[in-house]
Symmetry: C2
Subunit: 387 residues, 2 copies
């Protein structure tokens, strides 16, 4: 089971570059914030005050739509979590426990999934039958609190979400010291990591002119098989539905650092619109991270409600809207960032008057490669996007 | 939007190797079988006989456990599907329609997802209000019938299932002409393609001594971060739960063609046991493909019911079995390939007497890297697996 010679060369050469999930400097800062949190609690105790921690409030009422920056932001309201308050003591304990867990993780230079973090901090409190957490959802919520409270990304606490999504295209990235040429990734592609921070992933040679982000891996495969990214000199990504944080962070960085426009090809339904909204403006749940996740310049390429007539699609592709879709569509039309936009109001109105949804795959009824050879090239040529 | 120079070199050099999802020879054979199917129907018609197609029966009663080969196999029973039979006419039409769709796909040298195939063959029959398919499940079932009827893998019909799963490790593969060094795939990894047939993917340099297949991507990340594959000279794969066909086919080929043992690290619960059962013996639904998918030599490494005591885990990691788990566990114990195996009978009995499940992540309560540094290395050293 000893290390074999075959892999030695590559690793020795590259090992120096592997610096852990976030930079050492940032790690030190995160540890300092965690220690500060603990110090404040101790001081409270020593001074005879009730120990407490302040956690920014993550509620809809504390979210603001920053019209200038065009992102969802968190307001200043906070909530105190006190040790000597029966309704808060449990959360107080959990907050400190997970803060300690993150500190241990950072010091060990390791990362864990949300589930792993739950297990790491799970135990029965001595002398009681009380578990530190009853379910993972409890630790997930407190971890989000900590993220906000410490002003760091979850990734900086060395905790990651489930991995999903793939990339190919005209770019080379360096991931943990390994150079990955996304032009040479075959049919499978490069699996986008959970943590796409600059310390793990650096952008190397990139000649791509834009990013095409599609909703589903099956659509992505169509584009990759037709070598769309090569013909149109772009980067092709997918996020298997609502893109996970890693994919969002990667798209954000491609947009901000390399200046690449991000075009989204999503289904014509409220879910597709919501995915676009999250990519563009951020999500309510993670509003505190919009600055590092949202892409206010992202464009919605389609599918659009008028494609049904414009592309002369057959009635077979219609998927009837149900009541929930209708409610959801109206909610989305009411989002502050869609409210003032006539093209979006028109789009959602048309979706509702159509009374049906359409998937990207519905274009296959025209031709297998209609989407890669006609639909997207036409949109790109006409620069015809919803903003 | 023209093709850019930067990617030209690589592609010109490699393009010759891109032969499509399956080999041209196999494609010609598949087209010949489809044409044979159509010819038979035409002949029936011309001779004044009722046109029909025979489809092998995919029911539990037509499955056999081949004890010698140690795989699930399909029996010889078939079912006739007749045009002039009210209850069969619709399926008859769908079968021929999808057969034609596959032929078009193969001739175009393209592939489609199951959903794409549904759309491709979806239309309203002229002069009626009858759709060719009401739902994708209808076309999925008929596609499976076709697979069996034509004696080819679904991949040979150029249809693919959802992509899932990642790989890193001491191997280089060539995927559609691109050489992919799985030792240099960073934290993200190589996304395992939906179609892993030899014509798309060839194995190049491989020094690995075994494959470690884990259930979840989050566990995979732990192993990759700890560079387990490098220290133990192996290949590391995950299938995000029940591995999709691409992953199963890849594992099968790594086992058969390269002779690598496949060790599975799965949760200690009926779902984990079922995943193992499918990897090892095949699934009832796809029994006709066991020969090319199943790995009768695969081993179950853990987690095992006695790990609770053996690894001195705390009571916190217990997840109570529910009624469905208990039923499922008993069903699995009754599978012919587990029935005669005392260690498996003991394992499932112990699971039931424990009354709780355990996840691979539960080992994190011992130490973040207990699973990569202690648990798996000990199992490997002792060659202690369930078969």
């Amino acid at each position: 089971m000893a290390k074999k010679k075959t892999t030695k060369k590559a690793t020795t050469k590259k090992r120096a570059k592997r610096v852990g999930p976030v930079s050492r400097k940032r790690d030190a800062e995160t540890i300092a914030s965690i220690e500060q949190l603990a110090d404040d609690v101790t001081k409270d105790g020593l001074k005879g005050r009730d120990p407490s921690v302040d956690i920014p409030l993550r509620t809809v009422s504390n979210m603001n739509w920053n019209k200038r920056k065009r992102i969802l932001e968190m307001g200043d309201a906070t909530q105190s979590r006190e040790l000597f308050n029966v309704s808060q003591a449990r959360k107080f304990m959990q907050t400190l426990l997970l803060a300690k867990g993150c500190k241990d993780l950072i010091q060990a230079q390791k990362t864990l999934s949300l589930r792993g973090m739950y297990y790491m901090s799970l135990h029965t409190i001595e002398g009681t039958k009380e578990k530190t957490f009853n379910e993972q959802t409890e630790s997930d919520t407190v971890l989000e609190d900590l993220e906000v409270g410490l002003g760091g990304l979850r990734e900086e606490l060395h905790v990651f979400a489930k991995k999903r999504g793939t990339m190919v295209g005209n770019i080379t990235v360096e991931d943990n010291g390994d150079e990955i040429d996304c032009r040479r990734m075959g049919t499978g592609g490069y699996a986008i990591p959970s943590i796409c921070e600059p310390s793990v992933m650096q952008f190397k040679k990139c000649d791509a002119k834009f990013v095409l982000h599609v909703e589903k891996d099956t659509v992505w495969s169509r584009f990759n098989e037709d070598r769309f990214w090569e013909k149109h000199n772009c980067i092709l990504t997918e996020g298997s539905g609502q893109p996970p944080r890693g994919v969002r962070r990667l798209l954000h960085r491609l947009n901000k650092e390399l200046g690449l426009p991000v075009y989204c090809l999503l289904d014509c339904d409220p879910w597709g619109h919501y995915i676009y909204s999250v990519i563009k403006q951020g999500s309510i749940n993670l509003a505190f991270e919009s600055e590092r996740m949202a892409i206010p310049d992202a464009k919605f390429m389609g599918i659009r409600a008028d494609d049904y007539d414009r592309c002369d699609l057959s009635a077979d592709v219609r998927i009837a809207l149900n009541d929930r879709d209708v409610t959801r569509a109206r909610q989305i039309a009411d989002y502050p960032w869609f409210k003032d936009k006539r093209p979006w109001q028109k789009e959602i109105k048309k979706l509702l008057s159509n009374g049906f949804k359409m998937e990207v795959e519905s274009l296959i009824t025209k031709d297998i490669s209609y989407v890669t050879e006609v639909y997207v090239p036409e949109r790109l040529k006409a620069r015809d996007f919803l903003d």
